[in-house]
Every structure is written in C-alpha cells, then in structure tokens.
Symmetry: D2
Subunit: 337 residues, 4 copies
C-alpha cells in the first residue's frame, strides 16, 4: 500500500508544529504540504528550531486535492469553511478546531457568538475520542478532534457515567500548560506574567469546552448530571491534569473502581489506569499520546485524576491516532504509548 | 515602649528564613537569637544569600528566657517540647508547627502516629487565624499558627459557613508551591522532578491538614459538612491557590455573595475580596501577607478561589500578624498588605 | 522638608511598575501622577495585580509642572522629547531610556538609526551610575540612568580599569531575565518559547549597550581595551548575571584583587564584594538594589562575576538611588540593600 | 544479524534513564538487564513514570557475561572496577563516568584525589567523541564517553584548533541544565533553590572537565592554548549552551569561518553548523542527539556558540551513537538528528 498523503493546514501554531513532528516520523505517511499565511515561502524550521524542514505554502496555493486527508489547525469559523472545501474535493478531514464538536448549530451560536459556517456538516462529523469512536472512523469523511480539556475529563468519566453511578453535580478542576493558549503572543502568555504564577480562568460554567463535555456525557448517559468546569493556567509549556469529583450512587471502594476502569481500558494502548494509591502527573504523559488515570474514593465521592499531554492525546497525537484508524493502519503507529 | 525581643527557633528552613526577613525589617522588634542545629556557629546569610546576617546558635545555647516571644519552626513533636519549656520560663510562644493545631490528643495520635508530647497545653493554645482570633491573642501565652492550606481554605469558607449556607460535601482543590514541602532535599523536590511537572498527592481525605480544617469549620458551624481536600504540587517556589466548591442552600448569586464577603472582610487589612468576574492568582499575593478571594456562582454551587503566599499569610507573615496583636502593636506593622 | 513630588511617565512597563512599587513605599516621596497611553483612565492595579492603586492619566493630561522630578520610562526617541519639555518647565528628569546615555549624537545615530531628538542636552546629562556620579547629581537637572547590562559590567570592571590592569580585549558574557525585554508581548517572550530554553542574541559587538559600556570605560581609562559583549536570555522573570574576563597586566591573585575591590566598595551600601571562593547568583540580588561581585583569578585572567536585579539596581532601584542623591536624601531610603 | 544484547549498569540516574529510553526504542538492541542497588527487585517505571517497565537487578546478580556491551552509569572509581570486570569476561564497555577520560593516572589522581582503580586500561580506552573517533570504535573494547561540557566545547573548537588559528587563551562560558548535576537530591538542586536563580560554579580553572578538554585540544594541536572554563547552573531540566571565545590568528570573517566548519561537519548527521547571523539555543537540541553550532566574528575573536542536550549528545545519545559505530550499525539508528 502506498503512503497516506497528508496536508497540514495551519502548521505554525503549537498544534500544527506537533503534527508536523509526529507525521514527519510516521512511517506510513507522506506530507504533501503544510500551510501558513504569515510564513508562506519559508520553511517550518524557521518558525521553530526543532521543527522539520517543511516548505510552507499559503493555503490558496496548497495542492489540497492531492491529499488523502488534511489536518485543520485553524481558528474556529475559518476551519469549517476549509473543511467544506476539502470534502467537496473528496479529501478527508480531521479538524482540530472547535467547529464540528457541537452537534447543534444553536449551541454553537450561543457559545461562539456567530452563525455556524457549515451547519450541514455538523451531523456527519464523527467525534474523534478515538477509544469510543472506532466503529465510525473507517468510513468517516470528517472527524472532529476533541478539545484538550474534554479528552482528559471524558476518558476519566466514561466508565462511571456509563454504569449510571453519578449522583449529582460533577466537578472538573483542570490545570493546563501554556501551549493550550496558542502561539500568538498575548499579555497573559508573556513569560514574565506566567512564570511563578498560577491562575484560574473561565471557571464555573463559562468555558467553551463545557458544552462539548456535557454533550458527550449525555451520549453515554442521558441522565448525566451537570458539570462544573474550572480551568487553570499552569506555568509549564505543556500537559493537562484534571482532578474530577463525582458523587457516587451505590457502594464503591477503590478496588471496585479499579476493576471497572480496568475492564474498560486494560486493552487500550493509550489509556493507563493506575492501581489504587497511585496518582498521575504530567511527567507520566508529556511527549506521549497517553492518558493516565488515577482513582481515589473519599467518602461517597470518586476523585478521579487524569493526565494527558495537551498537544499529544489532547490534540495532534489523538488526531494521528484517529487517522490511523480511518485508514486501517495499526492504531499505535507513529505514536508513543 | 521598648522593642519586642523575639527568638526564632529553627531559622534555616523556609519558614524560619521568611520570619528572619520579615522580623529583620520590623520596626518594633529586636531579634534576640536565631537557632539552628546544623548551622550553629555560622551566620544565616551562609544558609541563603538573601538572608540577614544573623548569628546562629544551637537551641541549647540560646538565651530563651531573654525573649518576650519565640517563634517555633520545628518539626512536629519537637516543637511541643520547646513550647512547654519556653512557657515554663514565662516566654510567650507562636508555634508554626502542627503540634497545637488539633485540640484533641486522640486525633493528633491518629494523624501523626504518636502520643502528643504536651497534651496539657492543647486547650490553652489559641488558633491564630488572626482575623478570627483577635479577642484571644492579647492574653494568649501560646498561639498555634494555622497551616498554609487551612489558612487559604478557611478564610474563603467562613462567611458562607457561618450563615449556614453549605448544603453538602465541600471540595477544596488546592495547589501549592514547593517551599511548602520544606527545605530538606528530597527526590520529589529535586528541580528536575518538579520542573515542567504538576502532581496531585494525598488527595481525598488523607492529608494531615484535613482534620485541622474540619475542626475549625465546626467551630464556626457545628453542622458543617464533610470536606474533601486535594493538594497538588505546583512548579513554583511559593504561593497557594485553593479552588473551593460549596453546594449552596438557598438562592445565591455573585452579587449577594459579594455583599456577604464584603461585610465580613471589607475592613480587614490583609483580606481582599475581588468583585464578581475577577479571579485571584499567585501574582496577587506572593511576597505579601494578603489573602485574595474570588467569588463565582455556578448553578447551585459556590466556586470560591483564594490565593495566599504560603510563606506569608500561610506561615511567617501570619505569625508576625499574630505577634502584632499579641503585643498591642498596630496589626499591619512590618507586613505588606 | 516637604515630600518630593514625583511623576512616572510610562508606568505600565516593567520598569514603570517597579518604580511605582518602590516609590509607593518611599517615605520621602509623594507620587503626583503616573502616565499611560493605553490604560489612561484606569488604575495601575488593573495592569498588574500587585501594583499600587495609582490612577493612570495620559501624558498630555499629566500635571508635569507640579512634579519636582519625573522618571521617564518611554521608548527611545520619545523619551528625549518629554525630557526636553519637562526641563523647560523646570522639572528635573531621571531618564530610564537610552536617549541620553551616549554623549555623541553621531554614535547615537549609528546605533539607533535616527537623528537624536534633543542633541543639545547630551552633554548636560549626568550618567547616573550612582557610585561614580555622586558629585554631579545634587546639581543635575537631567540624569540618564544606565542600562541594566552596563550597570552590572561597569561596576565589576571599574577598579581594575582604573588602575590600568587591563591587558587586552575584555569579554562580558551576560545573562538576563525576561523582564529586560519589556512587557509588550512578542513571539520571543511567549512563555512557551522561553521556558526550558536559553538563547544567546546580539553577541559580539552588535548590542546597543556596547557603545554605552565602552564610553564609560574610556572615561575611567582612556586606554581601555575593546569589549566583546554577549547577552543571553535566561528563563527567569528577573535578574542579570555577567561573567567577565579581563586579561591582566602585572601580577594578581585573588587576595590582591579582593583588597582592590574592597578599597573601592567597602563603604558602598549597595555594592557587595564577596570573599575569594564565593560567587554571586541571582538569589543574592533579586528584589534588592544590590550589586554583588565575585572575584576569581585564572592564570593571567580575572574572571569577574556580577549580579544585579535588572529591574532594581539595573533600572528602577538605581533611578531612586539617583533621586535620593539629587535631592539630598540619605541614599538608602526606600531601597533594599 | 541478531540483536545487540546490552546491559545498563546504574539505570536509575538521569543518564541511565535516558539510555533506557533510547535503547528501549532502538530496533537493533535487546536490553539484557538494567541494574540498580537501591531499586533492585522493582521496575524502572517505579523510578520515573515515563521510563520503560524494565526489571531492575542488583549488579552482583546481573548476567554480565550475556551482554555484548554494557553501558556504565556509575560514580567515578566504581565505574573503572566494573569496566575491568566486564572486559575480563569479554564484554565490551561504554563507560559514561569520568574514569577513562584522562589518559594519565597522575592527572586523574590530581583532579579526583584518589589512585586510579584500573590504570592499565587508560591507554586502551577510546575517547568516544564519535565524530572524531570513528576509526577506533569498531575494534574498541573500551570506549570512554566524553563529558557533557567537553562535548559541546570540543565540537565547537576542533576546526579552528586543527588549522592552528587559536591565538591565546580560549574562554568557554558554559551553562547547563540541572540534570547534569545528577539525580541524588542535594540542597543546591532543590527546586526552590534553583528556580528563578542562575549561578556560576567552579569557574576559572577548577572544574574537573577542564583537563579532559585540554587533553583533547592537545591531541588536535599540540600548541593549543590554555582554556578558561566557567560552568553555570541554568534553571532548566536539560540542555547545555557553551559560548566560546577564541582569539584568532590571521584574517577571519564569518563567511570564511562558515566554510571551514561546513567542510568539517556538513556530512555529519548530528552536527549542524548555522549560517552566519543565526545562533543556537536549547530549543534546537533538547531531546535530540544534535550539536548545533553558531559562528560570530567580533574583531579578532571568534565567538562560537554550541548547544547540545546534556543527556543526549552529552551522554546517553552519544553513547548509543558510539555503540552503533562499534557494532557496525548505521550511525543514526535509534537517535534523533
């Protein structure tokens, strides 16, 4: 079989750079093109010294139709338009923006403040939390890659949600490295503002990842409770750790919890459930595609901890994992588990 | 009036160093002695380049009786013995260890695994969360300085607890800088292990600060619910931020919450309540004696955020604040608000 | 005597914020105004949570004439114009920009690529390396505050240069924290680009601080050799450490070097010479106005190390030290030595 | 051909962990054993969460004779004894300690303060700076892996030294991440002491890497000048950047320098020479086996900058590169260039 020809649209952000790094070492892939508006005509290694030497082209000059699949790392609203264009050419799409994560155009409008640019595609888009999306991926034309926070929270919640063990409001207290805020320089990502600091932001029910998470929770269990979601900015370049509190129905201890999670995840190449008494940290996951989950029971509450690399399993890694399944390649190829 | 003569027992840990720094600039204080077993005969500036040039003496050679008050920065169990000795000489004590925080010797035994060395003093010890301890401090012989995590959590909880608004299990998700783990080198505080990392530890109901917090919660409201407390290690030298989730009884919005907290704290020199929509961060508080509190309501849950400097309001700063009240000095003297 | 009325022009950069912090605690100063173009109408604490609550006004609305002295924290070229305006009103000026550091307008043109906006003031400006400027400051209308790198390098070089001990090209290998690059967000100061990284820039003879340093070297010794100056960006918020290599004429050992430096600096409140065998670090100086110097002799070469806080002795601290001397106040008032 | 059977002796330090990571992914290698005294009986992933799940055995229980080659990551003096033992069994050795770097037992005694434990092996040991050791490696029984600082400095110096361009004392001002100081917790590697700090140490002519560097300089040119070497501790986990100043004989500009370095290195897979005007940083090299070199001419002085990952090209990476050559495998296998 020939190599999969891929395009990276928006290669100079942190997600695009990570995709270039992973795909550059993927034995079944050939990179057809990588786009950038601001760096067109230059080389990706001019953007970041550790990046591969890919030539960068403007999107309008990119040979879109030559790709088997394009990865879109664009701002929301822009991404949907390019996705529609690529699909029209018969090119498959893995979209890393938020454009196709919400199924309902009205919800999109409410959270993003604008009309969805391609509402007709919303139902078709497969939600690419790979571990739960496998049946849909081989035939999918359009895969929407989950958000970084949602990936960490949903993988931790699924087993208990699915058995109906949730007994009231769930709290996800999440902490993310700065690459999650993008590569465009802003006051709040200036080194001097972030170093030695730690900041909550958009806590409660106000962050755009909230409806994405709740939508998927309801897919797994229509009676899922409400979520409170509190993101915080960590002074590290990468990594997410979510600490999740779920009130429990029924009688649970850590051993029973461990059995439930092992049943779900023990054959997963990228999800590792720690034995009771052990807790994950960013050191478990950074520069990998893994999600590592810790299990504690405190009184009637499960305290779940989940760590991922926001650029790995939280973005580029999971996108490649999805691509592998879409194209019938072994799921772990090109990824670190 | 003459200066207050103070002794610092255990001056070479981070808490002792911070006390030396604050007391060295305090206009109403003269430092009678500073002790260290491992550095006796040397100077505090040999321990840390920014420390004042205090000579260090071994505890057995320290002129304990010359001090009006001693600050104890010793490991638990050791501290209680020195406290008893100092009190017997008529010297007042501010103890920064955990020895006098728990009122019940049986609870101490359960959490610390040993008999309390001075159980007769437990009832006498005033719990020095200054904002709520003022009536007791001027006459107190023995003040027990609150733990760092408890200070951040209790100041945030008090107004809602006192009015009986808590409606079920409270969750405190806390994040602390590394100086909270002490100055003795350990694998888990090695720079390479902490940098770029973020780790939960002792989460649920297993950290020794839990019984201290719950004891004080019950002082304010005997019907206080259970607490789940999850500490995490932040890759920064100093600062604590606690994100606290309290299910609410009755009808609350952020405006009503703000009024309640302002009523409690608006005249406090070291507690700052942020307007709804604003959130605290470590940058608000580091190198100060402040506690800054943010207020969010999400559905039926209050999301309280509280930031302190763990070495300031969480340890040495609050100890000096307590000393100021004990000796009738204006409370803000020598401290940064 | 009444308080000195000061204005801060450009209060929202890191230098301006540090000035506000120091001057806000200075017992002999009252802050008449603080200016900002982008934040006019708001409060300085909206810019940084630890800043004092100063109202910010646009420069054109600032009561310039009411100040006894203004501190200018503006980009070069802008600063000279405001300086001229203030002086014309009889207001004294401490300029923290580069505009008056070079005595020769042609040199300014060569390094800054534009005509000097106020060349008539160049000769009058006193070069405010306080330890060597004291005779000129009480009468000075216009003081030009030295650059941060030059302060660290010049204080280390002066004693050996003055006795004519330099024997060939001097090398200054300097490392600076990120606040030295300003508060405006740029790609190269984005947290993710700086963290875990370390970068040389403008090394050799290409950084704008080079002519400033060489000019002052020639003031002390017309036969001063050439300088090679290599700045590097450190992943810390603040602090500069310069490691300086001077080939030596004559016979030197560390003891003789120490005597020479002690003779020059032992009565200085803000310059500390370490005994042979000890070396400075950023921990010696950050959040102070100190310069700490270490002395090593290796063969025929002196290896001098000098540490300062780039925002303290390297900018705002030294500016206040200069103000103290200008107005006949004790030099250490308001500063940490 | 069968896989190379390797043993890692001392697998739980940072160098051993990095070797385990690289060798675990090396397609031509099978790991026969990994040793640890303190963790024997446990698994390497218990030491570090990102490490592979290798069982750890005590050295005395390790099947030394089954390995084709052992990598020694032991303290000096211990290493030489194990090397002698392995060689006696016919097992080849790559020693990552300092034991075989100095050819002269008297020099070893002077710098390490003890008699060399296996002086008979000193002459045989091949100095494994791979780029210059290739002819000797295929037949070598014992390869001594260069120090981390020496690797960065020697690769930068070689082309100019070899053509006799050095004209007086060379200065190497080097900065290293904390993993270079080892994994054993010490006061000076405690997170709180290192964060926000930057410190010179052993500067001048007192660091143990100095004689190693000068010995190799003299191999390339017996008339090599003296070196002054100043290491500094950077607040990052990994990476070394050396800034090197060489006075030049003859007429040089950056273009001529670039030609000379390209001639030497352009076909090297792991040495990258940057075009004039570009400078290396840790971001160029971390997590790779690369050395990236920048070239500046300032007056009569070459300012060379060289970056490596101290655990990669500075230790484990180069050790594997040496192994590849020793066993006739393509040099880049298993390594990131």
């Amino acid at each position: 079989m020939g190599k999969i020809s891929v395009g990276i649209v928006g290669a100079t952000g942190y997600t695009g750079l990570e995709l270039a790094r992973i795909l550059g070492g993927h034995p079944a892939v050939s990179i057809a093109f990588a786009t950038s508006e601001s760096y067109a005509g230059r080389c990706l290694s001019a953007v970041h010294p550790a990046a591969p030497s890919l030539p960068l082209v403007a999107l309008e000059g990119a040979p879109l139709a030559e790709a088997d699949v394009v990865f879109l790392c664009l701002p929301h609203a822009e991404s949907a338009l390019v996705a529609a264009e690529a699909l029209a050419m018969g090119v498959r799409v893995v979209d890393l923006s938020a454009d196709f994560r919400l199924k309902d155009a009205a919800v999109y409008r409410a959270w993003y403040g604008l009309e969805h640019p391609a509402p007709d595609l919303l139902q078709e888009a497969a939600y690419g939390l790979t571990e739960f999306a496998r049946p849909h991926l081989p035939a999918a034309r359009l895969v929407t890659n989950p958000g970084c926070y949602p990936t960490s929270i949903l993988l931790a919640l699924q087993p208990l949600l699915a058995v109906g063990a949730a007994n009231g409001t769930i709290i996800a207290d999440s902490k993310s490295g700065v690459s999650g805020a993008g590569r465009t320089p802003k006051q709040e990502t200036h080194f001097v503002e972030v170093a030695d600091n730690f900041s909550p932001y958009s806590i409660g029910r106000s962050h755009r990842h909230l409806p994405e998470i709740e939508q998927q929770m309801r897919c797994w269990n229509p009676d899922s409770p409400q979520l409170i979601f509190s993101p915080h900015l960590l002074p590290v370049p990468r990594g997410i750790l979510s600490t999740i509190y779920m009130p429990l129905k029924g009688s649970w201890n850590e051993s029973r919890l461990y059995d439930l999670y092992q049943e779900q995840y023990q054959s997963e190449p990228f999800v590792q459930v720690l034995e009771p008494g052990k807790l994950p940290s960013l050191a478990h996951v950074n520069y990998t595609n893994k999600c590592v989950i810790g299990l504690v029971v405190a009184g009637e509450t499960a305290v779940l901890t989940a760590a991922i690399d926001n650029l790995g399993k939280g973005a580029a890694g999971q996108a490649v994992q999805n691509m592998n399944v879409m194209f019938g390649i072994e799921e772990i190829v090109g990824l670190i588990g």
